[in-house]
């Protein structure tokens, strides 16, 4: 058994720095590269892509990343785990195999974790009384059944472990927890059991720290952003994991960024609820047990983590169509920048009302004044310039399209010294809303397929 492994974060979301995974495999030693591609509503975008073309529906970025790093992966024996499969993990695998063929690389073993996509199984669940009640509102999924775009179960680390145990060098999953990507190699390498709660919790916490990429290594660091060296070449975080569950968060020395107890603590608190119960499919981790200690330059030791048995449920992430959104901006300069922006927002609202348009919501914001902090923003006597941002939400397509035609006219028919209307008439875009639910683990079975 290895005494430690280095797991490197390569992507914090679909669209993150394309350079990061390349840097992780070329600027120092790592054993695993883990990449998170799936935000809450990403699956719906992928379902739409798959509807248009059955060969799509996964993160195509992943394939181009693999093309850049595959020779290094092979020569250095680095394994990759990514939830890049979206709603079409086999198509993603085939695309990666195609890349390998193009590069003349043979013998690549790829694991696919699937079985998370339950969209087509919903009628079966509803018939048996599994209503996938919304965790926020308690409503049955019946309510949005005909507008559903995607429905996926969050798998944990164990299906990935199975693929690694079968010798996969690249593991592609559909919906899987971000933390499971990091926990899986620890279970695989250190032989942790499925009831080693403290160890599983430790791996989960490591995953939580890595899952947003550079947010643990100096990115978005509110503590002291000016102290972060070389943002341009920011290094993504690396977890050096040990069999006893302790781990060090660090980064490659030759890259920019910053890892200290402050950057790690900020990420620990990111998007958590009750810290005593951070619930995942494999374990319930207690964030109030985490100890964080300075262990040298750009090295932070994390230890002491406690966990409790997992729950009998998987979390489900479903998405559904919920009307349209449209937004546009105009910039008003001195004099009376704030007053003019506000007046323009009111004039627009009145015109939309006179046209009889219907919206579920109309919102005017004043960027430069208070769009972020509302009444908490400091008042300024005379603003040099203010950007008006108007947004609408609704289900009536005619009103939504009509809104887009009323912005530009404000320039010649409203308050003066106005500019910044770019990009033409805003077109309504589809709103995809999120439906969180739970499902009994007994009705779901993760599937693993390793080929090559």
């Amino acid at each position: 058994m290895k005494t430690s492994i280095r797991i490197a974060a390569g992507q914090g979301f679909w669209g993150d720095l394309q350079r990061a995974p390349v840097d992780q495999v070329t600027h120092g030693q790592i054993d695993y590269l883990v990449m998170d591609y799936l935000a809450e509503v990403t699956m719906s975008i992928m379902q739409k892509q798959k509807q248009k073309d059955p060969a799509l529906g996964y993160a195509r970025d992943f394939v181009s990343v693999i093309e850049k790093i595959l020779p290094d992966l092979m020569s250095k024996n680095i394994k990759v785990i990514a939830n890049a499969g979206g709603v079409n993990p086999f198509a993603c695998r085939d695309a990666v195999l195609e890349v390998a063929k193009k590069l003349g690389i043979t013998g690549l073993k790829i694991g696919v974790v699937h079985g998370d996509d339950i969209l087509k199984r919903l009628p079966e669940f509803l018939e048996t009384g599994i209503e996938l009640e919304n965790m926020d509102t308690g409503e049955s999924i019946w309510k949005v059944q005909h507008r559903l775009l995607s429905a996926n179960v969050y798998f944990g680390a164990f299906p990935i472990v199975e693929a690694l145990d079968q010798g996969a060098q690249i593991v592609i999953t559909g919906r899987c927890t971000d933390t499971g990507l990091t926990l899986a190699p620890m279970i695989h390498e250190f032989g942790w059991k499925n009831d080693d709660w403290d160890l599983l919790a430790a791996g989960t916490v490591a995953g939580h720290i890595l899952e947003c990429g550079a947010q643990a290594s100096g990115g978005n660091f509110l503590g002291d952003w000016k102290s972060v060296p070389d943002f341009a070449n920011i290094g993504f975080p690396i977890a050096e994991a040990h069999p006893d569950g302790t781990f060090i968060i660090t980064k490659h020395e030759s890259l920019g960024g910053l890892v200290n107890t402050m950057t790690v603590k900020e990420q620990l608190l990111y998007e958590i609820g009750d810290p005593t119960q951070y619930i995942g499919p494999d374990v319930v981790a207690d964030f109030t047990s985490i100890q964080v200690e300075d262990a040298g330059e750009n090295r932070v030791k994390v230890f002491g983590i406690k966990g409790r048995p997992n729950t009998p449920f998987y979390k489900v992430s479903a998405s559904y169509e919920d009307g349209y959104f449209s937004s546009s901006t105009l910039v008003y300069s001195w004099p009376d920048a704030a007053e003019k922006a506000k007046a323009a927002g009111e004039i627009l609202k009145k015109r939309l009302d006179l046209l009889g348009f219907q919206f579920d919501e109309y919102n005017a914001e004043y960027i430069g004044m208070n769009s972020c902090h509302g009444h908490l923003a400091d008042k300024v006597e005379d603003y040099p310039e203010v950007m008006l941002r108007v947004s609408v939400r609704g289900s009536d397509k005619k009103s939504m399209t009509g809104f887009g035609m009323e912005i530009a006219p404000l320039i010649l028919t409203g308050p003066p010294a106005v500019t910044g209307f770019a990009g033409g008439r805003p077109k309504p875009s589809d709103i995809v809303a999120y439906w969180p639910a739970l499902i009994p683990k007994t009705v779901i079975s993760p599937k693993v397929e390793v080929t090559g």
Binding site: E40, V41, D136, Q215, N220, L222, G223, D224, M262, K265, E266, Q267, L268, L269, Y270, E271, I272, G273, D274, P275, T276, F287, T288, S289, I290, Q291, V292, G304, D322, F325, S327, E361, Y362, N363, E365, I367, S371, C372, H373, G374, H375, L376, R389, S391, V392, R393, I431, V432, A433, Y434, P436
Partner: protein
């Protein structure tokens, strides 16, 4: 007593879960943690955000990392992809809380 901003003794990060804003606030030094616990109650945080937070405020303590975690319910205009707010995910909410001015003893070194 002297007036300082919370930002002088704390830092943090914020994000979203649906229509709930999650704000993590961390003491810059362990000795500042009791000040955070005393100053940032669910009531004072709810009152600070006023009309921005329409629901309740929950507070969780993490003495192990000298931090507090807040959940501000109904604070993101419907949340997620539905909200019309520019700061749809409440990414700037931690900064908004750290603007708060508080009274501390003159001898406190910040």
């Amino acid at each position: 007593m002297k007036t300082i901003r919370l930002f002088d003794i704390a830092h943090g990060r914020s994000g979203d879960k649906g229509d709930t804003s999650n704000i993590g606030i961390i003491a810059r030094k362990p000795e500042f943690y009791p000040i955070l616990v005393e100053t940032l109650t669910p009531e004072t945080v709810k009152s600070w955000f006023g009309p921005i937070c329409k629901g309740k405020v929950e507070r969780f303590e993490l003495p192990n990392i000298q931090a507090l975690n807040f959940l501000l319910h109904e604070a993101l205009g419907g949340g997620g992809t539905v909200t019309l707010k520019l700061d749809a995910q409440g990414k700037t909410m931690a900064a908004a809380l750290l603007k708060m001015e508080i009274q501390v003893p003159d001898e406190l070194e910040v």
